[in-house]
């Protein structure tokens, strides 16, 4: 591979009627990612190209795009992995286009917010002014920690066939997070969130196509979270769910270990 052909989606609302593809030929360098290619184009070829990125290391979830018809993080996708020198980059489907490759993720964030993505504690005072630590076993942690790795990049929403037609469907990211919080032993908000997920556009419009989990760049496996949520809701609606004890508190030992001697400051 000497050169790469980038076909990049261009679209300016109000100016263009439809998105169109523009072709760029750029040099290949070893280890470069799709994001590197886009940055090269913006710096050296066409500075009007718009795309979004921030951390360039798969942490912030800003750079989700459709690469050769598969949703990916541009920064997390080495060009070599694509096994072709023709790279088509479009904005994430199922999200409105702000400009060129920049998709508006507002929809995702609104839906995410609607499911109350935070620990709902039974004891507000303890949550606000903690007197002790919550005890959590390894199994309890592992029951949700995989789903807590979500970076809200929206790739799962771009992959989901139900989101493809249904603007009101909650979608894989928010539904996965419903399970993430409900299964956390510190949380007492399952009832409220189950209510949200039980709407006609809630969890039952998931048909386990599995595309969300295939697209997820963080190994979060939203499809698994959603199926476990369905199970929890079915058991709950048939009153078969085990009653969960509120989380236990571990009061810190009153006598702590002797403090380690802090060396003198060298700069005074």
């Amino acid at each position: 591979m000497q050169e790469l052909t980038f076909k990049v989606q261009r679209y300016t609302p109000g100016q263009d009627k439809e998105p169109y593809l523009q072709e760029f030929t750029i040099p290949f360098t070893e280890g470069m990612t799709v994001l590197d290619g886009l940055i090269y184009i913006k710096e050296k070829v066409d500075n009007t190209l718009s795309f979004r990125s921030s951390c360039r290391m798969g942490i912030c979830g800003s750079c989700g795009v459709l690469v050769n018809n598969f949703p990916m993080l541009a920064c997390h996708t080495p060009v070599e992995e694509l096994k072709t020198d023709r790279i088509e980059v479009k904005s994430l489907p199922n999200f409105p286009i702000i400009r060129d490759l920049v998709a508006s993720l507002d929809l995702l964030f609104e839906k995410h917010k609607s499911i109350k993505p935070y620990i709902i504690s039974s004891d507000i005072r303890e949550a606000e002014e903690p007197t002790a630590e919550y005890v959590q076993s390894r199994e309890e942690l592992e029951s949700y920690v995989q789903f807590a790795y979500c970076v809200k990049c929206g790739l799962c929403m771009a992959a989901c066939p139900t989101v493809a037609t249904d603007a009101l469907f909650l979608g894989p990211q928010p539904l996965g997070q419903v399970y993430r919080y409900c299964t956390d032993r510190r949380d007492m908000g399952a009832k409220e969130r189950f209510h949200e997920a039980d709407s006609p556009h809630g969890v039952w419009l998931c048909h386990l196509a599995g595309a969300c989990s295939e697209a997820c760049p963080k190994g979060v496996d939203p499809a698994l979270a959603i199926q476990l949520l369905k199970r929890a809701m079915v058991f709950d609606s048939m009153r078969l769910a085990k009653k969960r004890q509120p989380v236990t508190l571990a009061h810190l030992p009153v006598e702590s270990k002797p403090k380690i001697e802090v060396p003198e400051f060298t700069v005074k």
Binding site: Y11, P13, P19, N68, N69, F70, S91, P93, N94, F95, P96, I97, I98, A103, S104, D106, L107, E110, K111, S114, E142, S143, Y144, V145, Q146, F147, Y149, A159, P161, V163, A164, T165, A167, L168, H201, H207, L208, A209, G210, A211, S213, E214, A215, C216, K218, G219, V220, D221, A223, L224, A225, Q227, L228, K230, R231, V234
Partner: protein, 149 residues
């Protein structure tokens, strides 16, 4: 909340894939294709049931009306439709069984902390799905043989 979400799409091109996003499974793998097929067979069976119930009406006209209706339907094209219904049912029934199990979290395993390279639960359990597909194909072939002989 719903109206808010819908209106936030208005200023821009919504860019939704639409029904094409249901049908076209593209680079996604097995279960994504089974999703399309399950929906297609479900709707096909429903259409067949509707036609079938309509045709049952000839029973009310007595033996002559029923026999002439059956005679009318007994032709190679009718046989092909009959076979397709049987095959669609075999698929929808067995895949439906898989969906019921997996929707209830069975056969998917437990959540695991994500360690690269990531393998999602459905891919971990995919051999089971291949076994199911093999049974469906075997059934479809068996029914075909029964139909031809």
């Amino acid at each position: 909340m719903e109206t808010e979400v819908a209106s936030s799409e208005k200023p821009h091109l919504p860019n939704r894939l639409g029904v094409k996003g249901w049908v076209w499974a593209g680079r996604y793998t097995l279960e994504r294709y089974l999703y399309t097929l399950h929906r297609l067979t479900g709707l096909g069976l429903l259409l067949y049931v509707a036609l079938h119930l309509g045709a049952n009406g000839f029973r009310l006209g007595g033996e002559e009306s029923w026999t002439s209706a059956i005679d009318f339907l007994t032709n190679p094209f009718g046989r092909v439709v009959e076979y397709l219904v049987m095959a669609a049912f075999a698929f929808h029934a067995l895949n439906g069984g898989r969906l019921i199990l997996q929707h209830l979290g069975y056969t998917l395993g437990k959540p695991k902390p994500p360690i690269y390279p990531y393998v999602d639960s459905m891919r971990r359990r995919r051999p089971l799905t291949w076994v199911m597909l093999a049974v469906i194909v075997a059934l479809a072939i068996y029914i075909l043989v029964e139909f031809v002989t």
